[in-house]
C-alpha cells in the first residue's frame, strides 16, 4: 500500500505543475510575428553578419518589424529578396544589383617592391603596424590573407603571387573581407561592372613608379580618352563610375601602367569570374 500513496503524491504534483506550466505558457506567451519564422527559413542561414545584424535571425526580426528593407540580405541576392518580399506582402524588389568583392591592388610579388622582410604575426593589421608594413607602397596589399580568413563563404584564396583572389561565383558581397582589410583595398562593386582601376594609391606618380610597376600614377590619360566622362581623377588616383561606364575599353588600352583592367581580359585561362585578373594571371 506504500506505493499507492507515493503514486498519488507524485501524480498529483505532476498534474499540478502541468496545469501551472500550461497557464504560465498562456499568460507569459511572447507574441511573435508569424512572418519571422518564415523569413528565417528563406534567409541563407550563414549568420555571416554581412547585413549588419547579429545573424540571420537578427535580420529576420528587423525585417518583420519593418526596420530593415526586404532586400537587406546581401548574400541571398534577388531570389531571397523576392521570397522575403512575398512573405512581407510587398511587391518584389526591382533593379536588385548583385555585388561582388574586388581587390583593388595589382601589386603582386613581381610588380611591387618590398621594404623589408616581415617575420611576425600572420595578420595584415598587425603587419601594418610594423614600420608601416613590409610593402614599399603604403597603399598596397600586405598579402597576409586577413581577408581570406575573414570570408565565411570560402570565396577567397591567396594567389601564388601574394594577392588574394576572389571567386566571384561564390562571393555573396557580404563585405566581411572589406572590413578585414586594413588598407581598404577591397571594394564591393556591381558584378556587372567590367572595368576597374586596380590601384588605391594616392601617392604622386613618381612615388608610385618607384614602388610599383602597375600602380595608378594619376596621369589622367584615361580621363581624357573616356567618351562618357565616366572616369574621375582625385588625389592622384583615377576611379571609374560604374553607372556611366559602358566598358568600351579605351582607357584599358591607354593606361600606361596597365592598372585599369577589363574583367576577363589580360588573364590566362581558368581565370574567369575572378576579381583581380592580374593576380590570377601571375
Amino acid at each position: 500500500m506504500v506505493y499507492v500513496s507515493a503514486m498519488l503524491v507524485l501524480g498529483g504534483l505532476g498534474a499540478l505543475f502541468g496545469v501551472a506550466l500550461a497557464l504560465a505558457a498562456k499568460k507569459f506567451a511572447v507574441e511573435q510575428d508569424p512572418r519571422f519564422e518564415k523569413i528565417v527559413e528563406v534567409l541563407p542561414g550563414a549568420n555571416c553578419g554581412g547585413c549588419g545584424y547579429p545573424g540571420c535571425s537578427g535580420l529576420a526580426e528587423a525585417i518583420s518589424k519593418g526596420s530593415a528593407p526586404v532586400d537587406a540580405c546581401p548574400v541571398g541576392g534577388a531570389a531571397v529578396a523576392a521570397k522575403v518580399a512575398t512573405i512581407m506582402g510587398q511587391e518584389p524588389v526591382k533593379g536588385y544589383v548583385r555585388k561582388v568583392a574586388r581587390v583593388m591592388c595589382g601589386g603582386d610579388r613581381a610588380n611591387a617592391s618590398t621594404r623589408f622582410l616581415y617575420s611576425g604575426l600572420n595578420d595584415c593589421k598587425a603587419a601594418g603596424l610594423v614600420a608601416g608594413g613590409p610593402k614599399a607602397c603604403t597603399y598596397g596589399c600586405l598579402g597576409l590573407g586577413s581577408c581570406v580568413r575573414a570570408c565565411p563563404f570560402d570565396a577567397m584564396r591567396m594567389g601564388d603571387n601574394g594577392l588574394p583572389i576572389v571567386d566571384e561565383e561564390k562571393c555573396t558581397g557580404c563585405g566581411k573581407c572589406v572590413a578585414a582589410c586594413p588598407r581598404n583595398l577591397i571594394v564591393l562593386v556591381p558584378d556587372s561592372s567590367k572595368v576597374n582601376v586596380y590601384c588605391k594609391s594616392e601617392a604622386r606618380g613618381a612615388q608610385v613608379r618607384k614602388v610599383c610597376k602597375v600602380g595608378c600614377i594619376g596621369c589622367g590619360l584615361c580621363v581624357k580618352v573616356c567618351p562618357n566622362s565616366a572616369i574621375v581623377l582625385e588625389n592622384n588616383l583615377a576611379s571609374i563610375l560604374p553607372e556611366k561606364c559602358d566598358a568600351c575599353g579605351r582607357c584599358v588600352e591607354k593606361c600606361p601602367t596597365k592598372c585599369i583592367i577589363m574583367k576577363g581580359e589580360g588573364a590566362s585561362s581558368g581565370c574567369q569570374g575572378q576579381a583581380a585578373p592580374r593576380a590570377c594571371a601571375g
Partner: protein
C-alpha cells in the same frame, strides 16, 4: 643585503661587454643633419626658419604653441637647405629641417649660462628646461618640463633618476655615469628643485659597479641624494617597476607616477638638464651606443641630433659581417628599421645591428599554457589570454584582461617556449582598443 627589485621580469643576457669599456667619444661633425620637427610625445613643431637661412648651434629652429611639445634647435651651424617630410625611425615621415654644416660650429647668442642654481626659481627652471627642448632621453621622449609640472591637486615628494639601463647591449647611460657623475648629480639637483622635492634616488643595476661607485662618490657631498643598487633584471628601468623597487609604491592601473608622488627621469635627461643651466646649451646632441656583432668598432658616441644612422656606421668603421637587422634602441623594446637613412632623434639611445644568425625567424608554435609569460610579466598581466583574444579579434575581452596596462617590454615574448608573437598581438589589441575609444 638583498638587492631591491620588483616581482616578475626576465633575466635577459646583457651583451654589454661590446661597449661597456669604451669611453664616449665625439662623433665627427656630419656634413648634413636632418632635424625632425616631431621627435617627442606631443604636438609637432612648426619651423621657425626658411630654406636658405643661416643658423647657428643652439638656435631654436622649431616650436609650437601647444601645451605638450618640445622645441627643436640647430645642432650644427650652417645653411638650411630643405624643409620637407623625411623618413624617421618607425617608417613614418616627419617634416624635418635639413641643415648643411659649414663646419664652423658658431654658437648662437642665446646660448649662455643661466646662473647659479640657488638664484633660479622653480618656474625659471621649468621654463629653461622647456626652452632647451629637453625630453626624456630614455627613449619615450616625453617633454621633461611637462612632467615636472604636476596636474592640479597633485604633488611630488620623490625624484627617481633612472640609471638602470636594463636593455641589453646599451651602455650610453652607464658610460655617462662613469665619466660625468658630477654633471649627473648637478642635473639631479636641478630636477629636484624644479620638481619641488627634497629627496632623490638614483637607481642603478648592480651589473654596473663602476657607475655605482662613481655616482656614490659624486653624491656624497649632497644631502637628499641616495644611490640605490638594483638587481640586474629586465625591465628594471621601466618607470613603474623602478618606483616599485625603490620606494615600494605601486602606480595605479591607468595612472601615472605622479599619482604616487614620484617623478622619474633618465640619467641622460639629468645631464642634459644640468647642461641647459650651466652652459645654456639646449638639447642638440646625445650619447648613442652603436653596437652589435656585425659592427667593426662598437662605440659610445656623442652624436648631433639629426645625424644619419649611415654616418654612425661609418664612424664605427663599417661592418665586419653583413647585418640582417637594424634596431633603433635596444633588442627588447627597440624598433626594427628597413633603412639606414634615418636620423638620430632625441629618443635614440642606441643603434643595434644583428646578423642573420642572431635574428630569430622561427615560426610560432601553439601555446602550451606553461604560464611562463604570466610568471614573467612585470605588470602581472596574463599575456597568453590577451594575445589569444587579440588574435581572435575579441578586443573588448582583451581590454578586460588589461591589455592597455601592457608596457610592451617584451618579457613574455622573450620567455615564450613556443616563440609566440605575444607582444605584437597585444600591441595590435592596444591599437584597436585605442581606436575604438577614440571613436566613442
Amino acid at each position: 643585503m638583498r638587492l631591491k627589485t620588483f616581482r616578475g621580469g626576465a633575466h635577459v643576457p646583457h651583451f654589454k661587454e661590446l661597449t661597456a669599456t669604451k669611453p664616449i667619444r665625439d662623433a665627427r661633425l656630419p656634413a648634413k643633419v636632418v632635424v625632425a620637427l616631431h621627435q617627442h610625445t606631443g604636438a609637432p613643431c612648426e619651423a621657425l626658419v626658411k630654406v636658405g637661412d643661416h643658423v647657428k648651434v643652439g638656435q631654436k629652429i622649431g616650436d609650437s604653441k601647444a601645451a605638450l611639445t618640445a622645441p627643436v634647435h640647430a645642432p650644427v651651424s650652417g645653411k638650411v637647405v630643405d624643409i620637407a617630410p623625411y623618413p624617421q625611425s618607425g617608417g613614418r615621415e616627419v617634416v624635418s629641417i635639413v641643415i648643411e654644416s659649414d663646419g664652423l660650429q658658431e654658437v648662437a647668442d642665446t646660448v649662455r649660462p643661466k646662473g647659479e642654481l640657488d638664484g633660479l626659481s622653480q618656474g625659471d627652471l621649468r621654463e629653461i628646461i622647456r626652452e632647451a627642448g629637453i625630453v626624456g632621453l630614455g627613449g619615450a621622449a616625453f617633454p621633461t618640463y611637462f612632467k615636472l609640472t604636476p596636474p592640479p591637486g597633485k604633488s611630488f615628494d620623490t625624484l627617481i633618476i633612472n640609471g638602470s639601463e636594463c636593455e641589453p647591449y646599451l651602455t650610453a647611460d652607464q658610460r655617462l655615469m662613469m665619466e660625468r657623475p658630477e654633471d649627473a648629480i648637478f642635473g639631479t639637483r636641478v630636477l629636484m628643485k624644479a620638481a619641488g622635492v627634497s629627496r632623490a634616488f638614483i637607481g642603478i643595476e648592480e651589473n654596473k659597479p663602476e657607475a655605482i661607485e662613481a655616482m656614490q662618490k659624486a653624491a656624497e657631498r649632497h644631502s637628499g641624494i641616495e644611490i640605490v643598487p638594483l638587481a640586474a633584471k629586465y625591465p628594471q628601468g621601466a618607470e613603474k617597476q623602478l618606483i616599485k623597487a625603490i620606494v615600494n609604491r605601486e602606480v595605479p592601473c591607468g595612472g601615472l607616477p605622479v599619482d604616487v608622488g614620484v617623478i622619474v627621469n633618465n640619467v641622460g635627461t639629468a645631464v642634459a638638464v644640468g647642461e641647459a643651466i650651466s652652459t645654456g646649451m639646449p638639447l642638440v646632441e646625445r650619447v648613442v651606443t652603436v653596437t652589435g656583432s656585425p659592427v667593426k668598432e662598437p662605440s659610445n658616441l656623442k652624436v648631433k641630433i639629426g645625424t644619419l644612422v649611415s654616418d654612425l656606421v661609418e664612424e664605427c668603421e663599417g661592418f665586419a659581417s653583413e647585418p640582417a637587422k637594424v634596431i633603433i634602441g635596444g633588442p627588447m623594446m627597440g624598433v626594427a628599421q628597413f633603412t639606414m637613412d634615418i636620423p638620430v632623434t632625441k629618443g635614440t639611445s642606441g643603434v643595434l645591428f644583428l646578423t642573420i644568425d642572431e635574428v630569430s625567424l622561427e615560426e610560432p608554435l601553439p601555446c602550451v599554457r606553461c604560464g611562463k609569460c604570466v610568471e614573467n610579466c612585470p605588470m602581472h598581466l596574463l599575456p597568453l589570454f590577451i594575445s589569444q583574444y587579440a588574435d581572435a579579434g575579441r578586443f573588448d575581452e582583451a581590454a578586460e584582461y588589461g591589455a592597455m596596462d601592457c608596457i610592451e617590454c617584451g618579457s613574455c615574448s622573450f620567455i615564450c617556449p613556443s616563440r609566440r608573437h605575444l607582444v605584437q598581438s597585444i600591441r595590435l589589441a592596444k591599437a584597436e582598443i585605442a581606436a575604438r575609444r577614440r571613436k566613442k
